[in-house]
C-alpha cells in the first residue's frame, strides 16, 4: 500500500513536470538565443543592426545591417500572403460547406499530403521546375527571385490556413446557417452573409499562423530566392531572407566571432516576431471559442 502511494506520487510529479516542460523549453530557447546574441548588441547598436543597409559580415570592415534581410523576408512573406490567403479561405469554404462527403475526405487527405512534403523537397522541386519557368516567362537573367519564393511559400502556408479556417467554419453554430436558409437565402448567401462573419476571428487566426509559418520557413526559401543581400525593389529580383541568412552562414562562421553572434541576434528577432504572431493568433482563436 505504502509503496504504491510512493510510486503514484513520483509518477504524478513526473506528469506535472512534463506538463510544464513546454514552458521551460520556450524559456530555454529564448534564454539561449539571448545568451549568444546579446553580446553582439554591445558591439553593434540595435539601431545600426536593424536599420543598416549593408550586410557584409566577412569583409573588412565588417558591416552588420539587416535591413535588406528584413525587407527580403517581408517581400517574400507579402507575396506568399497574396498567393495563399484568398485561395486557402475559398478552399476551406469549399471543403466544409460545398464538397460532397466523399470528395471532402479526398481533398483533406490531399491537403495533409501537401503539409507532409518536407520543405527541402519543395525547395528542390522549385529549383528544377518553378525557377526555370519564372526565368522564361519574365525573360530574367535568373529565376531565383522573390516571386519564386512567394509562390512556393504560399503553397506551404496553405495547409495551415485551410485546416484552421475549416475548423473555424465548422465551429459556427448550425442554427446560424439554418436561420438564413429558412429566411430564403441561398446556400451561398448564407455563407458569405452569415457564416463568414461568425467564422472571421478563426479565419484571421488561421491566416496569421500561416504567415508565421512563412516567415520562419528556411530551406525552400534559401534554395529558390537567390540569396542576394540587397534591398529589393521588385518581386523579380533575388532576395535574401532572415532565415536563409542564418542557415546559409552559420556553418561558415568562427565560433565566438561577431558574425556568429550576429546570426543569433537575427534568431532573436525571428523568435520575437513569431512569438508575437502566435500569441495574437491564439487570442483570436480563443475569442472565437467564447
Amino acid at each position: 500500500m505504502k509503496l504504491r502511494q510512493i510510486k503514484e506520487f513520483v509518477i504524478e510529479k513526473l506528469i506535472f513536470l512534463s506538463g510544464i516542460a513546454s514552458i521551460l523549453f520556450v524559456v530555454l530557447i529564448f534564454v539561449f538565443l539571448l545568451k549568444e546574441g546579446i553580446a553582439f548588441f554591445r558591439e553593434v547598436p540595435a539601431k545600426d543592426f536593424i536599420g543598416g543597409k549593408y550586410w557584409y559580415p566577412i569583409s573588412d570592415p565588417e558591416r552588420f545591417g539587416i535591413l535588406p534581410l528584413i525587407l527580403g523576408s517581408l517581400l517574400v512573406t507579402f507575396g506568399a500572403i497574396l498567393v495563399s490567403v484568398p485561395v486557402s479561405i475559398a478552399c476551406a469554404f469549399y471543403i466544409s460547406e460545398v464538397a460532397p462527403v466523399k470528395l471532402k475526405d479526398i481533398l483533406k487527405t490531399g491537403i495533409e499530403m501537401l503539409a507532409a512534403i518536407p520543405s527541402v523537397v519543395l525547395g528542390f522541386i522549385g529549383m528544377t521546375t518553378l525557377v526555370p519557368w519564372v526565368k522564361k516567362i519574365f525573360h530574367l537573367p535568373t529565376g531565383l527571385t522573390a516571386l519564386s519564393g512567394s509562390i512556393m511559400l504560399g503553397l506551404m502556408a496553405m495547409p495551415t490556413i485551410i485546416s484552421i479556417s475549416e475548423d473555424a467554419i465548422n465551429a459556427v453554430p448550425k442554427s446560424y446557417k439554418e436561420g438564413a436558409l429558412a429566411l430564403g437565402a441561398t446556400r451561398w448567401q448564407a455563407m458569405y452573409r452569415v457564416v463568414i462573419h461568425a467564422a472571421l476571428p478563426g479565419i484571421i487566426a488561421a491566416s496569421m499562423l500561416g504567415i508565421g509559418r512563412v516567415i520562419g520557413e528556411t530551406m525552400a526559401v534559401m534554395m529558390i530566392t537567390g540569396n542576394a543581400a540587397v534591398i529589393p525593389q521588385t518581386f523579380l529580383q533575388p532576395v535574401r531572407t532572415l532565415t536563409a541568412t542564418i542557415a546559409a552562414e552559420m556553418g561558415e562562421t568562427v565560433h565566438g566571432s561577431n558574425h556568429y553572434y550576429s546570426l543569433f541576434a537575427i534568431g532573436i528577432i525571428l523568435f520575437v516576431l513569431t512569438f508575437i504572431i502566435n500569441i495574437t493568433a491564439d487570442m483570436f482563436l480563443h475569442r472565437n471559442k467564447k
Binding site: E8, E12, I15, S18, G19, I20, A21, S22, I23, F25, V26, I29, L33, P86, V87, S88, A90, C91, Y94, A99, G110, I111, M113, L114, A116, I117, P118, S119, V120, V121, L122, F124, I125, M127, T128, T129, M158, T186, W188, Y192, L209, T218, M219, M223, T243, I246, A247, M250, G251, H255, L263, G267, L270, F271, F275, I277, N278, I279, A281, D282
Partner: protein, 281 residues
Amino acid sequence: MKTTTKQKIAFSILFLCTIIVVLPVLFVLGVIIKNGAKGISWQFLTTMPSDGMRQGGIYPAIVGTLYLVSLSIVFSLPVGVMAAIYLNEYAKDNLLTRLIRLAIVNLAGVSSVVYGLFGLALFVTFMKFGVSILSGALTLAIMNLPVIITASREALASVPYSFREVSLSLGLSRWQTIRHSVLPFAIPGILTGAILSLARAAGETAPILFTVAAFYLPNLPVSVFDQAMALPYHLYIISTQIPNISIQTRYATAFVLVGIVFTMNIIAVILRSRLRKKKKW
C-alpha cells in the same frame, strides 16, 4: 442575376481555388515519381556515396535519418504523452494551464532554423554534446513535442468521461484510473500522433544543419556522440552545393525521402481510420 446562378458561379470559383491547392501536390509527387523512380536500385539504397557523391548510393544518409528520428522519439514520446495526461486529466482551468497552452502554441510556431540555433547553443556548445546525433535528436524532439502533445491530448479527450467515473467510483486512485481505464483506449490515437511526428522529423533540415548533419562521412556513426549524414541535408547539398551531379541522383534522393515520409503518413492515416471504425462508444 438570379441568386441561384450567382451561387453556381460562386461555387465554381470555390471549386477552382480548391483545384489550385490540390494540383501542385499531384504535380510535385508526379515529378518526383517520374524522374526519381528509375534512379532507385538496391545498390543506390545500400552503398556508400563515392566520387564526391556523384556515384554510389545514399545508404549512410538513410541510416543517419533513421537513427535521428528513432532517438528523437525516445525523448519526445514520454514527455509529450505525460504532458498530454497532465493537461487532460490533472490541469485545472487556471493561469498555469493557459501559460502551458500558450507555450505549446509558441513551440509549434518557432522557426525551424531558430531550433537549429537553439540546439547549437544549448546541446552542442553549452552541454558539450558536440555536433552529434544526440544534439540533433534532442533538438528534433523539442521541436516535435507540440505535435505529440496535441495528438495525445485529443486521443485522451476522446475517451468518454464515464470510463473515468466508473473506475473512480470503484475506489481506484486517479493514476490507476488513467493507467487502466483511459490510457489503453487512447493508445492508437497517441501512436498516430507519434508516427506523424516521426515523419515530420525525418524531413526536417534546418534544425539539424548545425547540430548533427555532416557533408560526407566515410563510415557509419557508431555512437550517439558521432556526427551523421541525414537524408534531407543530403538532398540539400547535392542539389545546391555540388555541381555536375546527375539530375537523376537528385530526384532519386528526393524520391526516397518523400517515400519514407509518406509511408509513415499513410500508416498513421490507416491507423486513424481503423480506430474510428472500431470505436464502439
